[in-house]
């Protein structure tokens, strides 16, 4: 079965010789030294270093904005470093494109998938493989054979026919991995793969990574969750503010060390202590209810399949679950943006909504702060007379939001596009908090934010619910830890249904089991 090593001309197959022999190689499969990369005035990487060895799982850890994805982008040939040295297989290389990285033996599995949804799985696997026929007829049979072979050897299970758009997230990720492995790369890098997986799927993935490493490959795993890293990695590199601050073997580090390295001082990142001493959940009539709500998605299937929920003032209801199980639709219904197809939604008047895609759905990039605040006020009688808007009053409100939320911008006339992600989210949060006198619906409110901004949002959510007559909050998040930290009540969204968790303070394992469709508790 041994075939020639993949070359740019030949059609690569699995089971090549060469880099996987592993034994006795002194050169590291991949090494990045002194990498500097800027984006305009922002310095994403400031002398970062990474060195991976064969037959290891190497985790790259860092908080959002530390530069992990940028580093991976450089390794994968998508970005070029402004300074620094990239070595693959012991020799220095200049990667000009993703294809360059491929042919040199780096397989990259992206965070946001690079599959073409409208094409079939087989077509996606075939894409970009330059065969000897150089542009002409594709031999799909050969791709299929190679894929089946690889699936057998790694235990990856993927359906080859049918369009990618019909497949779920977990399966799509497996296709991405398969696609990368088809080139038989000595270096395989994965960018935050666990964000979209259930705890069970994470286990399978880690098992796969360990077996790939056992074959002799260098497996790089970019992550920001410490316990994942501790469970699967052989070595760890920590990035902070674009620099490598720590690089050690698994045995040499523990959670506090890693946290300290990630954050930089002894400040406790873990604000779990805040969850103790929370006031008892208020009793009383729910401020918002959903009764047997059914919502159809664009293809006619039921995205929400009979959801019932009651939210009381002052409580934070956490809804966990992997993306695509109906959370989006439920959030839209709760926020009054979408009426249910069947069932009833009883909603109060003062609703605030923090959508998950703040750049596209929460803000208008070309509008300035004042106009973005006006998005919430344009049909409010207090901010205008008759058909006219009172821009003076709206401006005052925008100034209030700016100062109270600490938005870093030269003035309220700044365009939203010019703000950083964290400041954009502050703007959205500030605008919506003012509206949320009765109910706040927050969808992944801290996605993509760094630790400081995340802590800020969490603090605001808590502050909101502690106030006298504070609103009820529904927190929909794919970040299980966030839900567990903040929620008074935890629910799991699974295939369009809500499952309540029996215990008051559940563990990750308990919730994870539910996410897999395990035993459901009393709603």
């Amino acid at each position: 079965m041994s075939q020639a090593r993949p070359t740019p001309e030949g059609e690569g197959g699995p089971g090549g010789s060469g880099p996987l022999d592993g034994g006795g190689q002194s050169a590291a499969p991949a090494r990045l030294q002194g990498i500097v990369r800027r984006f305009g005035p922002v310095v994403a990487l400031d002398g970062a270093e990474l060195e991976v060895h064969p037959a290891e799982v190497h985790a790259v850890l860092g908080e959002n904005g530390a530069g992990k994805s940028t580093l991976l982008g450089i390794l994968g040939g998508m970005l070029r470093p402004d300074e620094g040295r990239v070595e693959i297989g012991g020799s220095e290389v200049v990667l000009r494109s993703p294809r360059d990285a491929w042919t040199r033996g780096v397989g990259l599995v992206h965070q946001h998938f690079t599959l073409v949804p409208a094409l079939t799985v087989l077509e996606n696997l075939a894409l970009g493989r330059r065969s000897a026929a150089r542009g002409w007829r594709i031999s799909y049979e050969r791709v299929r054979t190679a894929a089946l072979d690889l699936m057998r050897r790694t235990g990856l299970e993927v359906r080859l026919d049918g369009r990618v758009e019909k497949l779920g997230v977990g399966e799509r990720q497996r296709i991405e991995i398969l696609k990368a492995l088809l080139r038989d790369p000595p270096v395989l890098a994965l960018d935050e793969p666990t964000a979209v997986l259930t705890p069970g799927e994470v286990e399978s993935l880690f098992a796969l990574l360990r077996s790939l490493a056992a074959e002799g490959r260098a497996v790089i795993l970019v992550a920001h969750k410490i316990d994942e890293v501790l469970s699967v990695a052989d070595r760890v590199t920590v990035l902070r503010h674009g620099r490598t601050v720590l690089s050690a073997a698994r045995g040499e580090v523990d959670a506090p060390t890693l946290v300290a390295a990630m954050v930089g001082d002894d400040r406790r990142v873990d604000d779990a202590a805040e969850t103790t001493g929370r006031p008892a959940v208020r009793s009383g009539e729910p401020i918002a209810t959903l009764e047997d709500v059914i919502v159809h998605d664009t293809s006619g299937r039921r995205a929400l399949d009979g959801v019932s929920l009651g939210v009381r003032r002052g409580e934070i209801v956490g809804v966990a679950g992997v993306e695509g199980n109906g959370q989006r639709e439920m959030a839209l219904v709760l926020a009054g943006r979408r009426p249910p197809n069947e069932g009833t939604a009883r909603l109060p008047a003062g609703i605030g909504f923090i959508p998950q895609d703040r750049a596209r759905e929460g803000l208008i990039g070309d509008f300035d702060l004042v106009e973005n605040v006006a998005l919430a006020l344009h049909d409010d009688d207090r901010f205008g007379r008759g058909p006219l808007l009172d821009w003076g009053k709206i401006r005052v409100r925008a100034e209030e939001v700016r100062s109270r939320l600490g938005i870093r911008a030269p003035g309220v006339d700044t365009v939203a596009r010019a703000l950083s992600g964290g400041n954009q989210q502050r703007l959205v949060v500030g605008r919506e908090l003012a509206l949320a006198s009765d109910l706040l619906v927050a969808e992944n409110p801290t996605r993509g934010l760094d630790v400081a901004a995340t802590a800020f949002v969490h603090a605001e959510l808590r502050r909101l619910t502690r106030a006298e007559d504070g609103p009820g909050v529904v927190l929909v998040s794919t970040d299980l830890d966030e839900v567990l930290q903040l929620a008074d009540r935890v629910l799991v969204m699974m295939r369009g249904r809500l499952i309540a968790v029996a215990t008051q303070h559940p563990t990750r394992e308990e919730v994870g089991a539910l996410m897999l469709g395990g035993a459901s508790a009393v709603a």
Partner: protein, 308 residues
Amino acid sequence: MSEVELVLFLEASVRLGVPLALAAMGEAITERSGVINIGLEGSLIAGALGGALGALAFGSAGLGVVAGAGAGFVVALVFATFCVGLGTDQIITGTAITLGGLGLTGAVYQARFGATGTALSLPTLAPAPLPLVSDIPWVGSALFAQAPTAYLAYALAPLLWYFLFRTEWGLELRAAGEQPDAAQAAGVRVRWVRFWATAFGGALAGIAGAHLALAHAGTFAENMSAGRGFIAIAVVVLGRWNPVLVLLAALLFGAASAFQFLLQAMGIDLPYQLFLAFPYVLTLAALAGWVGRSRAPAALALPWPRER
């Protein structure tokens, strides 16, 4: 209705459908790569003038067609420079290209031949009946006794289909039109692909225009494209971006346009503006009726790379 009249109708259907088919197949390729070329009309009229001038200059209709292809190609290249190269909005850029094409061809024509509009006499692209097949009853002469550009259209349909769905280049082109980020990550040069797909579409539209001037009308007149470029874009939708279906849809449209001859032959006399408007009304109706079932390439008309 006699056999003669039916055959005439079929012949007219094909004759009218061929330029649509050529332009639409070209546009199908362009759109599959993610670019909508509203400037197709500009390529078409440029092809018509290019074809006329080329035929006059070289004394040959065949070379005129080549010149027309070249003219359409250049116009599309300008369009691609702006929207693929610079990233300007495809719709408005296309509209500007169409306007520019119509204005330029009008100006060049008037400058060369005066503003009076006397018809040019051009070497024409005569029908070239294919042996044997053109003798098939009913459809033989309609399909196989046409100008050579018709045969080009027939040949292109399966060729382009094969290109799109069976070759690596076609796969890369489709990926570029569906999900350019993914295509780029797979090593596809998205802008390069789009550039050439657009230019190719323009060349085909140029041939269609040359056909109009040299095979259909036998002369050039300002604005003679009469919106066929826009109808071609609609035909692409109706043909679901599939070259073979696009050819069939175009021929159907040709039949609809030829309908007026049928009615006249049957003695029905309607105001001729109604006939002129008919193709456009039909296109509207077809778009209304068929749209729900087909899906455009996902990245069509979206600027790429996306702005931050």
